[in-house]
């Protein structure tokens, strides 16, 4: 065969974080077994108790902080949500003018947020999964780690830089494509309307968003793809499957739930993205499907806050905080659904006591993956890696 599918290929020698996270998963949590040792000890020293208190306190402070975030947002936004938007002089001017109530103000913003995030996902997810596949199964083993690092570098670029880049590079770059689409496919609702002359379109914003969510979807999908049981892959290859058939038969079924939740986590990132949209898109406060126009683009919650916050008075700011609260709730829901999907359906959760690992996913954050990459190159974990991956 010209292309030997059964050659010992990528994952085995790949030294990335996939192996290390897998060993953790099978190894159980280190804390589990020494919890009982504590009770057996005769005397506990003061330092012990102080340290236990400190770390428990730190853990408790997480709950306090999160409760605080929700509480302060609610307290600050109640005056604006409960105000009478018809009669209030403050709410009838500036960014909140001409609205019947808080809900009619926030509804188009929510629509815009969901719409542009969905566009970004549609463009970004296939590419992200392709990259993840390339790194995990196609790239030469030796360079796979470096290539993964390159993609993770995308996550290190601050969002404001992407915003500036979008203004200067993406807007003029996409302009010919936008004009062409508007000219030839103008009957399609998305591409209808007066084509933009500047390029400050929702489409350009969505493209930049898609770039920004690439690394998060890629890094999680990559970890999951690498965790596919080697025997499944080899079984598929032994039956004569081509590489793509092997991936379809063994990798995708195994990774499906992980990829879905990686996509949802990417969606969570896109929902909260502020600066790129605020800089690139020229928006208005309407429900709009058009993505190729100036000034007829739907506005997003986050960009609306960023643009109007400096020019608002107290009550208007409280209205903006109210929209922020709605955004908080939405992205909370998206993240929770992502985590629940993983907990319910992850292949690892079936055999063992399923409930306890909310964190079946590899760390949702490319920076953590990077840190793990580094750690796995240092010999900290060589014992565990050798011990478990052979068994």
């Amino acid at each position: 065969m010209s292309e030997p599918p059964a050659s010992p290929s990528e994952p085995q020698g790949y030294n990335g974080a996939g192996q290390t996270t897998r060993t953790i998963a099978t190894n159980g949590r280190p804390g589990a077994s020494n919890g009982s040792a504590r009770s057996g000890r005769a005397k506990s020293r003061p330092a012990d108790r102080i340290f236990l208190g400190l770390s428990t306190g730190a853990a408790a402070s997480i709950m306090v902080i999160l409760a605080g975030v929700a509480l302060f947002l609610i307290v600050q936004s109640i005056p604006a949500i409960s105000a009478d938007w018809h009669t209030s002089a403050s709410l009838n001017s500036g960014p909140t003018a001409n609205q019947a109530s808080f809900w009619t103000y926030v509804a188009p913003l929510v629509w815009g947020t969901v719409f542009v995030s969905a566009l970004a996902l549609i463009m970004g997810t296939p590419v992200a999964i392709g990259i993840a596949l390339f790194i995990s199964h196609y790239a030469p083993r030796r360079v796979a780690g470096v290539l993964g690092y390159l993609v993770d570098l995308l996550a290190a670029v601050p969002s404001i830089v992407f915003g500036l880049w979008g203004i200067l590079v993406i807007r003029p770059f996409l302009l010919p494509l936008e004009t062409w689409l508007n000219h030839n496919l103008g009957w399609f609702p998305l591409f209808s309307g007066q084509a933009s002359a500047t390029g400050s379109t929702l489409f350009a914003g969505a493209v930049v968003l898609a770039v920004m969510i690439l690394p998060i979807i890629t890094s999680i999908s990559r970890e999951i793809f690498l965790q596919t049981p080697r025997l499944h892959e080899e079984a598929a290859l032994a039956l004569g499957a081509t590489k793509w058939e092997m991936i379809k038969l063994s990798v995708f079924p195994y990774a499906r739930s992980g990829v879905v939740s990686a996509t949802l986590l990417g969606l969570g990132r896109a929902l909260g993205e502020t600066m790129a949209i605020a800089l690139i898109v020229s928006p208005s406060l309407i429900f709009s499907l058009k993505i190729l126009t100036d000034g007829e683009n739907s506005q997003t919650v986050a960009a609306n806050i960023a643009l109007n916050f400096p020019i608002s008075d107290t009550l208007q700011r409280q209205a903006l905080i109210g929209t922020g609260l709605i955004l908080f709730v939405i992205s909370l829901a998206v993240n929770l659904v992502a985590r629940v999907i993983v907990t319910r359906t992850s292949p690892g959760a079936k055999g063992r006591k399923a409930k306890r690992d909310i964190a079946q996913l590899p760390p949702s954050d490319p920076s953590t993956v990077l840190a793990l990459d580094d750690a796995s190159r240092s010999p900290v974990d060589f014992l565990e890696r050798d011990g478990v991956s052979k068994s």
């Binding site: 330092a47 770390s55 428990t56 902080i65 596949l133 081509t242 605020a278 800089l279 760390p363 953590t368």
Partner: protein
């Protein structure tokens, strides 16, 4: 899938055609095809006017079509699909490199002319000339650099102890089945999902409730950044502590060492490289946050090194306001935005490098 059904069919009598050897393209066909396609389309584009984007896009499409058609003619449909997918996946990866390279190049080209010693060491100032009645603006980023360092520093001071101690609690003390461990793990996941602008609104709400509606301060921005940074530190530290092998802890307990000393003398030193790397990367993540700082610390051109009083400028906010709220001299504002962006990128690169170096230097001795 054709593979299972074809294996099930009965074995044909007579001379057996070796299906493994029949009909296959030569070994390096993919590279050869790619080279030919690139050359041919470069030639075509040279005739109609060269554009690098068009050349690459057309080459990619033609290559995928060519390899698909050739393979399905000579080999079979399954192999054709396989080859096309291989091409698609590679294209996806190359596609991702374009924005990375393009962003970095743009920032460097635009910013390199702005960033010089004067830009780094002076604050933005407006000088009014009474004879010509003009205002000359000299842009400087000193106030933004100082502000970025102060705000990020305070955020790190808040987040690192809380983050690492929480990770220690989760890994060393709590049983995974305990309600508190489960809740905290869950809440950390929730916290990773907080949009950055919401963190900024939280800090603003908190401080405006305490100190009145104009409570912009660097400290408030640091609180906002902490909300974003704590979950990152917890997650990475947790992973690092879990990597420390159980044998080390057990050996320490077997010698009668107390839990506190085991953690501080055995577990933490073993994991220190990973911990510092994680922390550095977390700092690199939040140093570029714009929205929360913009909400909580507002923006200013004045030098302000007091984090507890008054607006404070930072590099990302400078990049944003330079574009969105330019001063009289629009070009100077935009230039300063690019300068700030370049400084920010340099800062992020430095933090990432420190993280890498630390990972090497602090790696446990003996096995380096």
């Amino acid at each position: 899938m054709t593979a299972p059904s074809s294996t099930r069919s009965s074995v044909p009598r007579g001379p057996i055609v070796n299906s493994l050897k029949s009909g296959q393209l030569p070994r390096f066909i993919e590279g050869i095809t790619l080279g030919v396609v690139l050359l041919v389309s470069a030639g075509v584009f040279a005739l109609i006017g060269f554009s690098i984007v068009g050349w690459l896009v057309v080459s990619a499409i033609v290559y995928l079509l060519a390899i698909g058609i050739m393979s399905s003619l000579v080999e079979n449909r399954r192999k054709a699909t396989d080859r096309v997918i291989r091409g698609l996946v590679t294209v996806a990866f190359l596609l991702a490199l374009i924005p990375l390279v393009s962003t970095l190049l743009t920032v460097i080209i635009r910013g390199i002319g702005v960033v010089n010693w004067q830009f780094i060491t002076t604050t933005t100032s407006h000088v009014f000339n009474p004879t010509t009645l003009t205002v000359t603006t000299t842009t400087g980023a000193l106030q933004a650099i100082v502000g970025t360092l102060i705000i990020t520093g305070i955020a790190a001071l808040i987040s690192i102890p809380i983050g690492i101690l929480t990770a220690i609690y989760l890994v060393e003390y709590a049983l995974p089945t305990q309600w508190m461990a489960r809740t905290v793990t869950f809440l950390v996941d929730v916290m990773t999902g907080i949009p950055s602008i919401v963190a900024g609104l939280f800090a603003f709400s908190l401080f405006s409730l305490l100190f009145g509606p104009k409570a912009f301060s660097g400290f408030s921005a640091a609180v906002a950044l902490s909300v974003l940074m704590i979950p990152i530190v917890v997650r990475s530290s947790e992973e690092m502590l879990k990597l420390v092998s159980m044998e080390l802890r057990e050996a320490s307990y077997a010698l009668g060492v107390s839990k506190f000393l085991t953690i501080t003398k055995v577990v933490l030193p073993t994991a220190i490289a990973g911990l510092i790397t994680g922390v550095m990367l977390a700092i690199a993540r939040v140093v570029g946050e714009t929205a929360p700082i913009f909400m909580a610390a507002s923006f200013t051109d004045n030098f302000n090194a007091n984090p507890f009083n008054g607006p404070m400028q930072t590099l990302p906010v400078m990049a944003y306001t330079g574009y969105k709220f330019p001063g009289n001299d629009i070009q100077a504002s935009i230039d300063s935005a690019w300068g700030a962006a370049l400084l920010l990128i340099i800062l992020v690169v430095i933090l990432n490098l420190i993280a890498r170096i630390v990972a090497r230097v602090f790696a446990p001795k003996g096995l380096r």
